[in-house]
Amino acid sequence: MKRYRLMAAFAALILVIAACTDAGSDGSTTTAAAGGEGDGGADGATLAAVQDRGSLNCGVNNAVPGFGFVDEDGNFSGFDIDYCRAVATAVLGDPEAVEFVELTAQQRFTALASGEIDVLIRNTTATATRDGSEGATFATTTFYDGQGMMVRTGEFDSIDAMADTTICVLTGTTTELNLATRFADIPYTPLTFEDNEQLQEAFIAGQCDGWTSDKSQLAAIRSAWPDAEGGPEALEILEETFSKEPLGPVTRDGDSQWSQIVDWVVIVTMEAEELGVDSTNVDSFADTEDSAIRRLLGLEITDADGNTAIFDPGLGLEPGWAADVIREVGNYAEIYDRNVGPGSPLGLERLLNALWIDGGLHYPRPYR
């Protein structure tokens, strides 16, 4: 009898728990599905979420000279950072409305896919695999880079002469993969590091013969090379560029409206440069006759019939958003010069990153 009662109690409990489990799972099916939708990004979901939140979650690097680093006041600064601010200005009207999320190379796509960040601007190379398998959508390239090799002056004159050498490289990057491809037939030892400081110590100590990275990074490091170690003259960057590294902002697959917004934020900075609009003169065009500038800045346009209208491409942004971006952050030339240009510690010439009219690769799509 006692036993029966115990067993009955036991059975009832199991039933209750089973019922709870079922209910729980039903509940989470629906939430997960709904969440998945919102996450994968129905069109417009990201924009709405960002505006709701009042701030942009921007995934960045905290240790790339010139592109993304933490300054003495604890603020993020750099070329990529300025593009985070540009996106925030476009969608929220405030360049300060950004929450920066520091990410390692390994974390970045997980963070993007999981919705932890809205946009990833972390010197990320656009590749087919990342486009296809990592759920990433690449916006217009902001910086054309290429992988190079830095050696001590006079030790090697080409990469093919570097048999049996040790090469220092950062881990978790396309740089590492490109190195393996370029050295497929050349015996070498890769030395991988998590960060540039550690790598530099190893390079100074002569632990590796070559240092491979994007050429912009190598140039930055070379120009700042300590005098105690012979100054910039002690190093040379080999001429060969053995990979293409188009770097630009990345958004999540599935929300094309959001991807387009980010894309156009990049484009208008270049368009502004081409049109001669910058942060100092952006408010002086009220009377300009140039319709391209009027469209870009969201000024009234009078057509042949005398009707006035403000040009709205239908991206889902307030008219005049591009003017805000240029006023608050600047055009492409300003962003470039401020962070990585010849006047900055990195001292990089424009070269590939000049506008097409100056012989470079930046060819902004028309804003009309």
């Binding site: 997960a32 905290n62 006041d73 604890g74 960060d195 300590p226």
Partner: protein
């Protein structure tokens, strides 16, 4: 050891002139035999070499990078116009520490008086002797500041803590027994000072502040979970026991870094799709899960130290098993775990540096990333910033481990 003892036994009494004493001392302790002399010479050379290298490094180094980034080392990217928040929080924690120490001192005094034992109030000199490394560290940090304000504020924090201590001394016994409520309230107040009304939640904290937070919050959150697992492991119910044992042994068998990797890369996968905690929250979850297993083992050690007769006495009084655990076993067990818990605290304090591997701006990561600032880029200053971070970690951990040993001695004596 014995040589010294023999000496004392054979030659009692006579006062020896200091110079001779030095000679005699060094003969006994440094040049007792040929092998001793050899050891002395080798180790002497080693010590001189280490000292000289260290001194040369410190004297040659240019600490500009530390001076200019001191705020980043302390609080990471906390907005610079809101620095009053961390200071206020520090003040509140100072009050908490003061109140707790004050009331603990009062309790110890009352107990001693009740038992008729002599009681010696600990003096300023005792405190100096115990905490000089920490005070020296604060001095070093203040030497790197560029304005006078931190000096003033540091003195204010110390003054407030001292006031709180004397207040704690006069709390009535009833309040003192519930002192942990006040402590927790003050801790919560410190958190609110940082986060409420336009402040920053912990997902945006950084620097030393973050390491301290992860340590304290990790231990506090792990504590109740750990107690549950410890009780579960000692339970007579097989299902409870097996769940607890599996959990504890699994977590203790894997390195913390794998759990942090889990937090960084995989936790998002096992949560519902609409729940997206920030990365520091996920680190905190990983650390709590990790610590809970270790705390459980510490508590289990404490439970084992409680004599079985205590439980039987409780049962004989007709108390329920829950009451026996709650009122008799746990209070005694937890008291015995204090030194081990401090040890656990130290090891977690050291382990919080691992979040740097995942790019989180704690003190170690800050010491790394400041080297990418344009003014310091490529200057090879990593050794200096790393040295500063290392000093901070070392001093805190050294001071705590000395305190742990002191507690161990004190509690050990009390038991006998």
């Amino acid at each position: 050891m014995t040589a010294g003892l023999d000496e004392r036994l054979s030659a009692p009494g006579q006062p020896v002139p200091p110079a001779k004493r030095t000679v005699q001392w060094s003969r006994e302790n440094l040049f007792g035999s040929w092998s001793d002399t050899l050891l002395t010479l080798v180790f002497g050379a080693l010590i001189i070499w280490v000292t000289v290298s260290l001194a040369r490094f410190v004297l040659d180094a240019d600490f500009t990078i530390v001076r200019r980034n001191l705020t980043t080392f302390m609080v990471g990217r906390f907005p610079r116009d809101e620095l009053w928040r961390p200071w206020l929080a520090t003040g509140l924690i100072g009050v908490m520490i003061g109140v707790v120490i004050g009331s603990a001192t009062a309790t110890a005094r009352d107990k001693a008086i009740e038992a008729g034992l002599p009681y010696r109030e600990s003096t300023m000199r005792d405190a100096l002797r115990r905490f000089w490394p920490l005070l020296a560290l604060i001095g070093v940090a203040l030497a790197f500041t560029r304005t006078f304000l931190p000096f003033v504020l540091t003195i204010v924090v110390f003054a407030v803590s001292a006031l709180a201590r004397s207040a704690g001394l006069h709390f009535p016994a009833g309040v003192r027994r519930r002192i942990w409520v006040i402590a927790l309230a003050l801790l919560l107040g410190a958190y609110l000072a940082l986060s409420a009304f336009g402040g920053r939640g912990w997902d945006e904290w950084g620097g030393l502040h973050l390491n301290l937070f992860l340590t304290v919050a990790g231990i506090l959150l792990a504590f109740p979970i750990g107690i549950l697992f410890a009780l579960g492991r000692r339970s007579s119910l097989p299902a409870l026991r097996w769940v607890s044992v599996t959990y504890i042994e699994f977590v203790r068998g894997v390195p913390l870094i794998t759990l942090l990797l889990f937090g960084a890369f995989a936790l998002g996968f096992v949560l519902p799709a609409d729940l997206r905690p920030g990365v520091i929250t996920r680190m905190l979850v990983a650390i709590t899960l990790f610590e809970a297993a270790y705390v459980a083992e510490v508590v289990r050690g404490g439970l084992q130290s409680v004599h079985p007769g205590q439980v039987e006495a409780g049962q004989a009084l007709g108390l329920s098993p829950w009451r026996v655990t709650r009122r008799i076993v746990l209070p005694q067990a937890l008291r015995n775990t204090i030194p081990a818990m401090v040890g656990q605290f130290i090891s977690l304090w050291k382990d919080t540096t691992l979040v740097a591997v995942l790019g989180i701006l704690d003190l170690l990561e800050a010491s790394r990333v400041v080297n990418t600032q344009p003014d310091f880029l490529g200057q090879g200053l990593f050794a200096i910033t790393l040295g500063f971070a290392g000093l901070v970690f070392w001093v805190v951990s050294y001071t705590m481990s000395r305190e742990a040993r002191r507690l161990e001695r004190k509690l050990g004596v009390g038991e006998r």
